[in-house]
Symmetry: C2
Subunit: 295 residues, 2 copies
Amino acid sequence: MTNRPTIAVVGLGLLGTSLGMALRGKGYRRLAWTRRQELRRRAVAEGVADGTSDSLPALLAEADITVFALPLDATAEYLEKYASCWHPGAIVSDVGSLKARISALGQKLLVPKQVHFIGGHPMAGTEKSGYDAAFPTLYENADVFLTPGPDAPSEAKEELKQLWESLHCHPRFIAPEHHDQLVARTSHVLHILASALTRSILGTANDPQGMRERFAGCATGFKDTTRIASSNPAMWREIIQQNRSAVLSAMAEFEEEYASLKASIQMEDFGKFETLFTEGKLLRDRWLDYKKRGE
Amino acid sequence: MTNRPTIAVVGLGLLGTSLGMALRGKGYRRLAWTRRQELRRRAVAEGVADGTSDSLPALLAEADITVFALPLDATAEYLEKYASCWHPGAIVSDVGSLKARISALGQKLLVPKQVHFIGGHPMAGTEKSGYDAAFPTLYENADVFLTPGPDAPSEAKEELKQLWESLHCHPRFIAPEHHDQLVARTSHVLHILASALTRSILGTANDPQGMRERFAGCATGFKDTTRIASSNPAMWREIIQQNRSAVLSAMAEFEEEYASLKASIQMEDFGKFETLFTEGKLLRDRWLDYKKRGE
């Protein structure tokens, strides 16, 4: 046995596997679990985790910190099903893209058992998914939102914060509802736009020659602007569905900016166009500086 | 003296400088010119070109192939001003983002002098600009559109094609008007969207705390989707202005796809949403395959 805190990572997709990889050598005992026995054994063999178990309840009973890295609905199901597994004082968290529903559920289920649910959302990911898409630097320099409930003791908040800081992330506490509105704007709406752009740019050529020309006309600008259109459709369906009203508000804000740029083109006010474009560039430069300072 | 064809690159921004770098060792004698004497000397000293001249007319007189790498209006001005400089049989081309106007002008000015104007547009670039942003692999695996006029002899077309092929590019001939409609869709509209997204995502927080949260909420998805919003505003003003009607048509096509995705969210038809998103992903996968085959 060991005195190091034991971390259980549940789910070995892109996020869970990368978390296991990143936590290597950070002073934790790492347990990992996923439904497929073959994959959890592979994770141990490949150093993604220090151990696993064929029994998820047994594994969770050992965990001081558990991080769910599953789809949103799956995390909710697992919380319901395994709520009695943790020891008092354990911390349970997740990496899901939405926080309001899971935070409420986690607190409802776990606070009575003196287990601390603190939702988490590292702003990290790629358009790929699955175990084989994982890499140890995925979380490097990422901002991480944490959504403790009113009952979360400060030691538990601090412990989860330290976990992310050990991966060179920048954790910050935020109210779960506010988080969900924020990411509708900073992330969810981007996926809708990337998909719409991909469809409009490549989608309606009616002949092979036209299609080849479109392919040839798309370069690195297209590649980057639409990268996240290659994300997992089922995952994004779940996220957009559960954050529908905030997403529609964020879309309305996008539409306003789009309409301003379009009006400047329609009215041939290209001085205005250049001003708007310049303002966007300056805003993005400020964001790049912000990320750079974090490095 | 030498028997190698002499190429003159006029303009030492990102595209011209990268072209000089890429042409190194490809069997051409490379001359480069830019307005600032200090910069053209630096280009020779740093191996971006084999030679330069303080006299642009003298330099152009030596060139078998001239490639303008200047803003659109500047290329037109230079063509007007230096139309008498080339020797008969010389080829004049460019790397500008629009082809209809410059191709018509080039042919009008140069065909009477037995000089062959064949417009060019390599689908390569970054959001950066200027000499110091250049790198030798910018054009690697890029598609290149070439817009010969009806009078262009096949040897001239072949020679320009070979130039780009020597850089591992994929040149293809296209009618200039058709080119301009195509890139409105595959490139120009992306810049407008990236700018509108940047403005809507970062633009209207009314307090420092809100701004920091927005910054934190933006990750690699934001970074890539909006990368080209950091492009040169004056350059994009010029492009959008000169391709206004095709850009507005491409925007209308984008709006249709956007409206479909939005309707699926509004009407809570998330099966439809997932289908549309999946179709976009598959289209993008086909494009990725196309680019991969080119490598």
